[in-house]
């Protein structure tokens, strides 16, 4: 894994408005390397909107987000620090598991050998299915492909929207180990989930959008 620098993501006074409804306002937080931020809130409280704002896909109605002190608006390389998994996980259904990951890693500019990619596929438990079209996999298995992509991309900031959907309990435990390792290696994590994630309490921050 590449060594990473210590980074800080700060959000100041964020407000999000969709149509004429205000989803949330007055949201502040700060996440540093090695920390995880769990975004909580009821359905429709703006969790996904917040994550998309943090990715730079949407703009907040008010407030500012900064990465290492620079606003993410003008920050050219900020988006290149992010691995994002949304509701749609960015997996091409007409490619096989292996092809998906090979293309994904080329797009992030990394050039691992096929053996290494296969190793990651083995870790997420899809080795037998590696040459099967992703379309034919179950929902949980598709999710696993996306989570394999995360590990491949080696980005510092992981922004995950409900990553545990459709995953079985054993795999969630394994995935928690991956997350811990990511945090140990100066990674950052921003995640929404309705299932409890077990991470070391010292590294975990929480924010609730419903309040």
């Amino acid at each position: 894994m590449r060594t990473k620098e210590v980074s800080v993501l700060k959000a100041h006074d964020l407000k999000c408005v969709k149509g004429s409804t205000e989803l949330f306002s007055n949201v502040h937080f700060e996440v540093q390397s090695g920390e995880a931020l769990v975004v909580e809130g009821s359905n429709g409280s703006g969790k996904t909107s917040l994550l998309r704002i943090l990715c730079g896909f949407n703009y907040p109605a008010e407030g500012e987000i900064s990465w290492n002190g620079t606003s993410i608006d003008g920050h050219e390389s900020y988006q290149q620090q992010i691995s994002f998994i949304g509701h749609a996980s960015g997996v091409k259904l007409d490619l096989t598991v292996l092809e998906n990951l090979i293309f994904a890693q080329r797009l992030v500019g990394s050039d691992r050998k096929e053996e290494e990619i296969k190793e990651i596929i083995r870790k997420v438990g899809l080795f037998k299915q590696r040459n099967i079209l992703t379309r034919k996999l179950s929902a949980g298995q598709k999710r696993r492909v996306a989570l394999a992509r995360l590990q491949l991309e080696e980005r510092q900031l992981w922004i995950l929207d409900e990553p545990l959907t459709a995953l079985d309990r054993d795999f969630v435990t394994e995935f928690e180990i991956v997350l811990k390792k990511h945090l140990e290696q100066k990674g950052m994590l921003i995640v929404t989930t309705h299932r409890e994630l077990v991470l070391p309490a010292a590294q975990m921050k929480r924010i609730n959008l419903s309040n």
């Binding site: 730079g56 896909f57 490619l95 992030v108 079209l133």
Partner: protein, 222 residues
């Protein structure tokens, strides 16, 4: 940069190849509509060869239009659009790659079939190379401009009709110069001016449309 371009072209071609059934639709549409003209209007040789440049090109515009939808539709559904903007490479390069792949899938088959259509419509032999050149230069412009429209309407329900309204007016210059060149060649007049205008259009579209597509995608994503 070049490797990113090639990667995205390869990926999109592979995906398209896996959906072969859809691949054939635009080109079949093209062939069928062109063959309807001799049946519906008149099989008269002189009349048809006069009508031919317009028929070949109007049909090409419509075929391009119905094929455009597929360029970003899936990417919006499976979340790949977001990934384009998080890539290490500039989104404009990746988008250009997507358009090139789309042209290889839809424009290239047209290039192959067009001389055959020309024979069907009694376009004189001396004009067939000109027709070929206009299709070679013109269809990439259609893909580049069409992609802007698709990027803008992809987030909308029922964006299909809107796409036609947005894009067809922008296709008009291509239609005028391309069919103009073919008509001129049929009459034995010089046509290099028309082709030069098409070429200029292609260069302009190549430079500007990836920027416009990228901005449109951002709007549709938010």
């Amino acid at each position: 940069m070049l490797s990113a371009l090639l990667t995205i072209i390869r990926r999109d071609l592979l995906v398209a190849f896996r959906r072969r059934a859809e691949l054939m639709n635009p080109i079949l549409f093209y062939v069928i509509v062109v063959t309807l003209f001799p049946l519906g209007v008149s099989p008269d040789q002189e009349f048809l060869s006069q009508l031919a440049p317009g028929v070949v090109w109007v049909t090409a515009l419509l075929a391009a239009l119905i094929s455009m939808e597929s360029i970003f539709r899936q990417d919006f559904d499976d979340g790949s659009v977001e990934q384009l903007f998080l890539s290490q490479h500039p989104p404009t390069i990746l988008i250009l790659g997507k358009v090139i792949a789309h042209w290889l899938i839809t424009g290239l088959p047209m290039l192959v079939i067009v001389p055959l259509m020309a024979l069907l419509l009694y376009i004189p032999q001396q004009a067939i190379p000109t027709l070929f050149i206009t299709v070679l230069i013109g269809t990439p412009i259609l893909s580049l401009i069409g992609a802007i429209g698709v990027a803008l309407t992809a987030g909308l329900r029922g964006g299909g009709v809107l796409l036609g309204l947005l894009v067809l007016p922008l296709y008009i210059p291509v239609l005028i110069f391309a069919s103009g060149a073919v008509s001129a060649a049929i009459e034995g007049l010089p046509y290099s001016g028309h082709v030069a205008m098409l070429g200029a259009g292609l260069i302009l579209a190549l430079i500007l449309s990836p920027l416009a597509i990228s901005a449109s995608l951002k709007i549709s994503m938010s």
